[in-house]
């Protein structure tokens, strides 16, 4: 690979011949055409991506309530405040517990349903539609349904518990149970997504490999473990990264069901920064929390990709 590049460099140093001038002109016109195609996209990304990203970085070093033009520079004091804020510590811990349970939970349920539906049985498209419907249902409807399911006095979950002799649980009224209700709620909501990704990946597995495994005497479980699962690994990595990013940014379900309560037991980072920004008008502090989360997400994603290289099997 090195040789042609070096040759090209040597060539460039030579005085321009007719041929190279012509090539340059072609390249220039290609550049213009290319840029004119991507410019609208670039403009939109600049406006709605880069500008807020840079602006919030600036705000994280300011005391800024967005109300007045007075935005004194306060150095890293917003970041220092985070270290001493007990609710930030609680929000980080809630976010971690949530992510650690939600991501594998969704992937396992999704994988199970996808494998179960990856066969020719009656009404299969009905089942598949039903599984994906959880994605199509709006978060607010989802939250309302789960609020009623888990209502301490009138909910069906407590009714079912009473049938098997389990005592009445306070669920969303309990500081130790509310977060788990939200985890169950969001796993339900994201299962459809995981099912679709896994189903597509399952259908991409060549039958020849499965047949070869069967001929070699592999049982169902061994085939699944040794052939199917490794071939699903790119889909698994994608889901892992995607769901983790979403988990770290959890907001809607918390906002709609518990508003971070009771007593901050379901307050996650994004909800807390929303509260700081739009209830307390501490946009500087909220930006600092957002930036902390941004860095965490980048690190986690980088680690996942790096770790992913070790176990993800890409079929060429």
């Amino acid at each position: 690979m090195l040789a042609p590049v070096a040759a090209l460099r040597r060539q460039r140093r030579q005085p321009a011949t007719r041929a190279t001038r012509h090539r340059d002109r072609v390249r220039a016109s290609e550049q213009i055409a290319g840029w004119s195609f991507v410019t609208p996209g670039v403009v939109i990304i600049m406006l709605f991506g880069i500008v807020p990203i840079v602006w919030s970085a600036v705000m994280s070093f300011q005391q800024n309530n967005l109300l007045t033009g007075n935005t004194p520079f306060v150095g890293v004091s917003n970041y220092r405040q985070m270290v001493h804020d007990p609710i930030v510590a609680q929000a980080i811990s809630n976010t971690l517990v949530y992510t650690a349970l939600f991501v594998p939970g969704t992937m396992l349920v999704g994988l199970f349903l996808a494998v179960a539906m990856n066969r020719q049985i009656r009404f299969i498209s009905v089942y598949r539609t039903a599984a994906y419907a959880t994605m199509a249902i709006s978060t607010i409807s989802e939250a309302l349904v789960f609020i009623w399911l888990f209502d301490p006095s009138y909910g069906i979950v407590n009714y079912l518990f009473s049938l098997v002799g389990i005592g009445q649980q306070p669920f969303l009224n309990s500081t130790s149970e509310a977060l788990y209700v939200i985890i169950i709620m969001t796993i339900w909501g994201w299962t459809g997504f995981a099912v679709v990704i896994y189903l597509a990946a399952l259908q991409g597995i060549p039958k020849t490999l499965l047949e070869a495994a069967a001929i070699d005497g592999a049982g169902r479980w061994a085939t699944f473990r040794r052939v199917t699962l490794p071939l699903l690994s790119p889909a698994s990595l994608f889901l892992l990264v995607w769901l983790t990013i979403n988990a770290l940014q959890l907001f809607d379900e918390v906002y709609l069901s518990t508003a971070g309560g009771p007593l901050n037991s379901t307050s996650v980072l994004v909800y807390y920064l929303y509260e700081q920004a739009f209830t307390n008008f501490n946009f500087g502090y909220a930006s600092a929390i957002a930036y902390f989360l941004f860095v965490v997400i980048i690190i986690v994603t980088a680690v996942q990709f790096w770790g992913g290289r070790r176990f993800v099997h890409y079929r060429s």
Partner: protein
């Protein structure tokens, strides 16, 4: 190098073009006429549009156009608009945001405007005027007023052998009634309390605090004053029902309690007039909030009024906006709006206008008690930019006591210390 110049130049030109296009879109409000942001839906929207068309017919050169903005999101959107220089002329803004809104430089000072002849500023309820005024400066004209009273289920009272509450009732009676109305077998509760820890949790308690003779902050708003015998009595009252008697349904979602009352599962609710239209399935009565025997607080309530705020888009538009708002909030328009929506009248004189209460009550039974209860609005929450923080601290205190996580006295002391810290750091 030239290539790069060309492409960069072109990209820059397109960026500039894009920005210019956005800019011109935002600047379209520069045309004549006023723009108003409001969040009315249903009957309120219909009545508002009707009044708007009346105004527009009479003032062809100062036509008002409206833009629906969900009230919950109006302040964040206003902040964005103000930053972009495309603020509306008038916006509907929650009263709880008044101290924050007052800091926006583009907000018009209306202190002189409300003193003009014919405005009759003192005809607005005192609770409204308090919330429209921040540090002596009037920043809004009242748009809505409400208050808390007790809505009770007549059938459940009769079943429990209880006589309906009277205007002289006390919290001791309320607690006893709540206990008798509670029936675990039927999953029936005496009363309910919203426990998301938000301002909705807090203001219910603040009304009790005032009735017990207490104050939220000291008179100069520099120290917490709620850590008092009155604060303890207020907190103990709701704690007894939630923890000891278990006669209080705790609603962390702030939405279920109304459905449950409408299903006959809850005997009494402390709530506002906005909930009445959601109770078609029960025969309910409305009574003022109970008082605490042996205190001088009497029967009080709390009000959460909202404001119309004017933003500066040039002197002529400000003048037109002022004129429009004074018309909109004048008696005839107020009467029309109340009768068509069931919203309480924003002017006190309406209470005694002939036939007004009867007409209101025909449309929405029990609303007359809420109107007369406006006379029990004797205090307002502190008009401070730090109030949201204070509210969060109080919300945590109340929820932790109601969930049995902490004792009232300790919770009060800890909250008072946090509030003092918040006040000190501004």
């Amino acid at each position: 190098m030239r290539r790069h110049w060309l492409s960069t130049g072109m990209a820059a030109a397109l960026v500039a073009f894009g920005l210019a296009a956005c800019g011109s879109g935002g600047g379209s409000s520069a045309s004549t006429g006023l723009q108003i942001w409001e969040g009315y839906t249903g009957a309120e929207a219909t009545a508002f549009k009707h009044l708007l068309s009346e105004w527009n017919a009479a003032h062809p050169s100062e036509k008002v156009t409206y833009l629906f903005v969900n009230n919950d999101n109006s302040l964040p959107k206003l902040l964005t608009a103000v930053r972009g220089g495309s603020q509306p002329d008038i916006a509907y803004v929650y009263g709880s945001w008044a101290p924050n809104v007052a800091q926006i430089p583009q907000v018009v000072n209306l202190t002189q405007v409300v003193q003009r002849s014919g405005v009759n500023w003192t005809d607005f309820w005192v609770g409204e005027r308090d919330v429209a005024t921040v540090k002596g400066k009037v920043i809004g004209i009242p748009a809505l007023v409400d208050n808390l009273a007790v809505v009770y289920n007549k059938a459940l009272f009769a079943q429990a052998g209880l006589s309906p509450p009277t205007p002289n009732w006390t919290w001791t009676q309320f607690m006893a009634d709540a206990k008798k109305l509670t029936n675990p077998a039927k999953k029936q509760f005496g009363t309910a309390y919203v426990t998301p820890g938000s301002e909705d949790t807090v203001w219910h308690w603040e009304a009790l605090l005032w009735e017990a003779g207490g104050q939220i902050l000291n008179s100069s708003n520099t120290q917490a004053a709620f850590n008092s015998p009155a604060g303890l009595e207020a907190l103990n009252t709701i704690r007894t029902m939630a923890v000891t008697d278990k006669s209080m349904y705790l609603d962390p979602t702030d939405s279920e309690y109304a459905n449950l009352f409408n299903s006959g599962k809850i005997g009494m609710l402390v709530t506002g007039p906005w909930d009445l239209s959601g109770f078609p399935n029960v025969h309910y009565g409305v009574q003022v909030m109970p008082s605490f025997a042996g205190t001088n607080g009497g029967h009080q309530t709390i009000s959460g009024p909202d404001n119309w705020v004017i933003f500066n888009n040039g002197a002529s538009r400000v003048a037109a906006a002022e004129q429009f708002l004074l018309w909109m909030t004048a008696e005839p328009q107020d009467t029309y709006f109340s009768l068509h929506t069931g919203d309480l009248p924003i002017r006190a004189s309406q209470e005694h206008a002939s036939g007004f209460l009867q007409q209101m009550n025909t449309a929405l039974p029990g609303v007359d008690t809420f109107v007369s209860n406006l006379n029990n609005v004797k205090q307002a929450r502190p008009q401070l930019a730090t109030y949201p923080k204070i509210s969060q601290i109080l919300g945590t205190m109340i929820v932790s006591v109601l969930l049995g996580k902490s004792q009232p006295q300790a919770a009060l002391a800890s909250a008072a210390q946090q509030v003092n810290q918040a006040l000190a750091s501004g």
